[in-house]
Each structure stands twice: as structure tokens, then as C-alpha cells.
Symmetry: C2
Subunit: 353 residues, 2 copies
């Protein structure tokens, strides 16, 4: 049986990150030095789709470790309204696998025109985005064949984590990063072992039309990215939430039988997720949990526990926690007879304005 591109690239992720850590560090240190010289007042990102979820990770990481406020940029301000939001004191980071989407390029160009420090995080070192930005952080992935992104997402997270670590200048951050490829490999192996042992990954979840995916703090981005994978491959309407946002209204739509996936690695956000789990269980939701906390995985009301390798610090846990989500999306797609390499109506490069 031939693997799909999506499966093959999911498996390639630990090696891709290891390569990026080995080959990309010099460029990252150079960009970090430029950021220190520029001393930005804030950060604006330009991205769409999975890359926008990577930007969402950067919002928490740069806020928590680098004291930088991040705004997820609104390209339409530039492309539709011809506005010129003041970017002169900003670090503008364009994130895109292909580097081809005109709206992402337009926002970076506007930043550069105003004197912002501009960085492209991309797998397309010769792309329009790379040409628009002053600095390029090349993901060095080789071609990503799967329309549904996986290795480009974890590489973008890795690249942004490397940039944050270089800006901080703390060797402990780099040591944690260096351990990450092994933790990714172990997480993929744990999931494979779990399925081989007969865990029911898709029952009853695959019969739903909709579900919610919860994550908070560093893993708010992970909830968004897993929800997007499920939409793209299994066509379920998976909607991401932080628990407080769920409580401010959408909780009303939670009912018996509705599937809920909780992204809950150990960390500052895990108590909040455990409380949410209890509230969802009380409403009769069918609950799946991604965690490295065995106790949480076996908590009453949990129908499916998706395991993570232990020992990953919370700030890097989005890079392991997304992996079971990718595999779960794949399993849901296959249970529904769908080919993850042919997502309905999508193409590898999307150009929007």
C-alpha cells in the first residue's frame, strides 16, 4: 500500500525540524541580532490558513518570552482599503509555505515601505514573499507535496521558536529545542502503538457533522490548526475555542453527543482545560484528549486519550501536541472514505487578496 503524501509528510516532521535546527540556526541568530538593533515596539504578522495558526503561536510565545505584543495583521486594510496602518516601529513577519499569496506579500511590502523590520518565514526562498522581506528564514523542507499542510506547520513553529530563543539568548531554550525532534518521534510512535493496540479512534467521533476543539495559551494555536486539519481532510465542521471564549456564549450549543477534542499538555493552562473537560462531560459531550498527563487521559468521561511524549516544556508543546491531531484528522478522513491527498476544492498554493 502506498502512503499518501499527507501520511508521509506527517512522519517526516521530526527529521525536518532536526534539519532546520542544524542548518537554520546561523540565519536565525543573524535575524535576532537585527531585531535587537531595530528594537521593535510591537510585531505584526501576515499569514493565512495553517501559517496564520503558526502566527497565533508566535503571539503567545513572543508575548510570554520576549515581551512583544503581536497583532495578527489584517491584510485587507492594505489590499481593500488602501490604508497605511503605522508599521514603522514594527517587526513585520510574513509566514507562508509557498510565499505566493498576494495579500500576505502586500502587508509585508507596506511594512518595508514604512521602514519596518521585515522577515519572511517561508519554504519558498525565491518566492514573492521572500523578495518582499529584508530577511528570510528559509524552512528548508524541500517540496511539500500534500495539499493539507503538516511539516510546513511544525517547521514554521520551530522557526518562530528558534527566533524567540535567539532573541532571548538563553541557552536553556536551545537545549529544549534540540530535544524536540526526539519527542516528536516518540509522540508519533506512541500514537501508532495506541492504534495498533486497537484503540477506537474514530468511534463515535467520525459519525458527527461538527465538533469543538479546545486549547489555551500556547496551545490556542494548536486547537486552530487541528480544527483546520479536520475540516480539510474529514469535512467535519471543527471549531476552535479557548475555554474562556466558550464560556462567554458558545457553551449554549454544547449538547449530548457533540464531540469535543481538548488539547491539554501539562502546563499553566492545564488546570483550566481539566475544568472545561468536567463541564463538557456534564453536558454529555463525547470527549477526546491530547495530553502527556496519563491521569487526565484516563479521567472519567474521556472516550479517547491521545498520548504525547513526556518532558516537553509547555512553550514547545504545540509542536508535539499537533501531531496526534494530524493523525486523528487522517483517521477520521479514512473512516469516512475520504482521500486526504484530494481535499475537495483545495489546491496546494492559494492566492488571495
Amino acid at each position: 500500500v502506498a502512503l499518501t503524501h499527507f501520511e508521509r509528510e506527517i512522519a517526516e516532521q521530526p527529521a525536518a525540524l532536526a534539519l532546520l535546527l542544524a542548518r537554520g540556526r546561523a540565519a536565525v541568530e543573524e535575524i535576532a541580532a537585527a531585531v535587537r538593533r531595530f528594537d521593535p515596539g510591537f510585531v505584526v504578522t501576515a499569514a493565512r490558513g495553517s501559517s496564520d495558526n503558526a502566527a497565533r503561536f508566535a503571539k503567545y510565545l513572543l508575548g510570554a518570552h520576549n515581551r512583544l505584543v503581536v497583532s495578527l495583521g489584517a491584510p485587507s486594510l492594505v489590499t481593500l482599503y488602501q490604508a497605511q496602518p503605522a508599521l514603522g516601529r514594527a517587526l513585520v513577519v510574513g509566514v507562508s509555505q509557498s510565499g505566493e499569496s498576494p495579500d500576505v506579500v502586500a502587508l509585508v511590502e507596506e511594512g518595508r515601505r514604512q521602514g519596518a523590520l521585515t522577515v519572511a518565514v517561508t519554504n519558498g526562498p525565491g518566492s514573492p514573499l521572500a523578495r518582499a522581506a529584508e530577511h528570510v528564514l528559509d524552512l528548508q523542507l524541500g517540496p511539500e507535496e500534500s495539499v493539507v499542510a503538516s511539516k510546513s506547520y511544525t517547521a514554521q513553529l520551530g522557526a518562530l521558536a528558534m527566533l524567540s530563543a535567539a532573541m532571548e539568548g538563553d541557552p536553556a531554550r536551545w537545549q529544549a529545542l534540540e530535544r524536540l525532534p526526539d519527542a516528536m518521534t516518540e509522540t508519533l510512535a506512541l500514537c501508532a502503538h495506541d492504534r495498533a493496540a486497537g484503540a477506537r479512534w474514530t468511534e463515535p467521533f467520525g459519525r458527527a457533522e461538527r465538533l469543538v476543539v479546545l486549547g489555551r495559551g500556547f496551545n490556542y494555536a494548536t486547537a486552530f490548526e487541528i480544527a483546520l486539519k479536520i475540516k480539510e481532510t474529514a469535512y467535519l465542521q471543527a471549531e476552535p475555542y479557548a475555554p474562556p471564549d466558550l464560556l462567554h456564549g458558545p457553551m449554549a450549543m454544547i449538547e449530548g453527543g457533540l464531540p469535543a477534542l481538548l488539547v491539554a499538555p501539562r502546563g499553566a493552562a492545564s488546570a483550566d482545560l481539566a475544568g472545561t473537560l468536567a463541564a463538557l462531560a456534564e453536558r454529555g459531550a463525547e470527549i477526546a484528549v491530547i495530553s502527556d498527563d496519563g491521569e487526565l487521559l484516563r479521567q472519567p468521561g474521556v472516550r479517547l486519550g491521545l498520548p504525547l511524549a513526556a518532558g516537553v516544556e509547555e512553550w514547545l508543546s504545540p509542536i508535539t501536541a499537533v501531531l496526534p491531531g494530524q493523525l486523528w484528522a487522517l483517521a477520521l478522513a479514512q473512516a469516512r472514505g475520504l482521500d486526504p491527498d484530494r481535499p475537495r476544492g483545495l489546491t496546494k498554493v492559494t492566492r488571495t487578496r
Copy 2:
């Protein structure tokens, strides 16, 4: 028949905004003068739920008219991670009807501690949020009884639009604002007339479990707010998107029979929405449209056209465009036998951390 609180407060919105325009202008001009003196480098908002959707409107408005980059603040950076993102050069705007949620208050307090200019936009002038901020923009609504917010949302939008106009100092903006209560009244009357004339508002939409709501630019916020109303009152999973974000992945889940609501008042974003309408119609979606463009409302493939008063400038159209969405959410709830004043599991004041 007694009106529900939700219905009564939907109807009160034009008068509430007229009152705010009359009574609030002096306070707004004072805050705008303080903003000019402070000369912020960027803006950070602190909000949850409907108020966060009002903040999303501010992101586009302050970007387009006031050249300010807005970051929708992440309270968990402060409450969970004890981080201190650099807010000293920021205008920090807390938005909350009650002014009670500790996470919103915490982010504003952190801004004030660092020397940011802090403003509370709230209906609770004696609330913890109002006490935390240096300046208070009081919505002056009297009590909002409905758990599901309506008049506080349009008043927040109005207050933020007044602040933007005062910062710009262009009398034409104020003239447009002054015309708005009449346009709101006319929009509500158009919708009532349309239903009285027998328009089928809830067929086939009320039978779905899920739908998408599309809006862009200024009305990206409107898509979020209408989706939230539908979740809170009718318990359908309504998910908001900007059209480019739909194209970068989620388009795969659009299939025949899926309802889609497009928020498409005339303006810079309307061509994009018209293109999206055609793409959704091709996939067999059941389409409802909110617009002041009669041609778009009658376009082939549109099952339900929800009318708006003509002559509202695009930057203010979110304040009229949300009204048919509130009424539609109400109609969907009633068609499903649900009481909009008793949304499952919600309370009027939500306190999250």
C-alpha cells in the same frame, strides 16, 4: 404576548445609540484629546464574547481611519503566564458590558501599571473595569436584561466609532454617525415588513446543525457577532470566516445543503463577497445574504435576502448589518422552539480568568 428581553432590546438599539451620541460626545472628545497627547504606538484590546467582536471592529476602523495597528489582547499572557508584554506605548482599551470579567480587568491593570493610556468602554461605570482604567466611556444603556447581548454590542461599536471620529477630527464622520439611528430604525422596519410579507426566513436554514457566516473588512466583526448570536439562541454551530480564510482550507467542508450567511453591505469588500456567493452557490450551499444592494439580494442562488437601509457608509455598516442577523438568530431560535431569554448554560455576567 409579552416580548422577550432579547426582542425588546433589539428594538431599543436605535434610541440607545441616539442617546449615546447626544450624551457621550463630550467624554469621547476628552478621551480623544488624551489619546492625541499620548500618541500611542499601537492599540491593545481586552475583551471576551460580543465585546471581543466589538474590539474586532475597532481593529479595522482604527487601522483604516486612524493609522493604528490593533492587537486583540491575549489576557492569558497576564493571567496564566504572568508575562509582561510591553504595553507602555500602547492605548489599552477594555471592552465589557458588565466590566466584571477578571481577565479583561487584569490586562487593563497591567497596561496601566506599565504607563499605557487605558480606556474602559463599558455599561458599568462603577465596575472593576471602570476602576482599573484611567478613562471611562460609559455606554449609558441602563440595565441590559437579556443574557444574549444586542444593544450593548451596537453601543460598543458606536462608542468606538465616536472615539475614532473624535481622534480624526473630521466633521463628516460625525454627520454620518448622526444619521445612523434612523438607518437602524429603517433596517429593523424593513426586516419586519419582509417577514410580515411572508418571507421564509427559517426554511430550510432552521433544519441544519451548522452553518458558516462570511464577512470581510469592517464586517468581519459582524460575521463573528451574528455567528455568536446564532450559537447562543438557536444552538447551531455557526462559524465566522473572512472569504480568504475560507479559501485557505475550510472550503473543503462546504457541501450541498450547508447554509451560508453572507454579510455583504456595499463597499470595498462587496466584490469579494459576491465572488464568494457564486463559489458557494456552485457547491450547492443554501445562501442567505444581508445587504443594501437589491441586485445582490436577488442574485440566482440566494434563498433569503435580508435587507438593509441604504446610504450607510461602509465603516458604519456593521452597526446596521448586525440587526438582521440578530433578528434571524431570534427567528431560528423560535422555529426550533427555544426561548432566547434562557440560553442553555449561560448567565448575564461571565467571569473568566
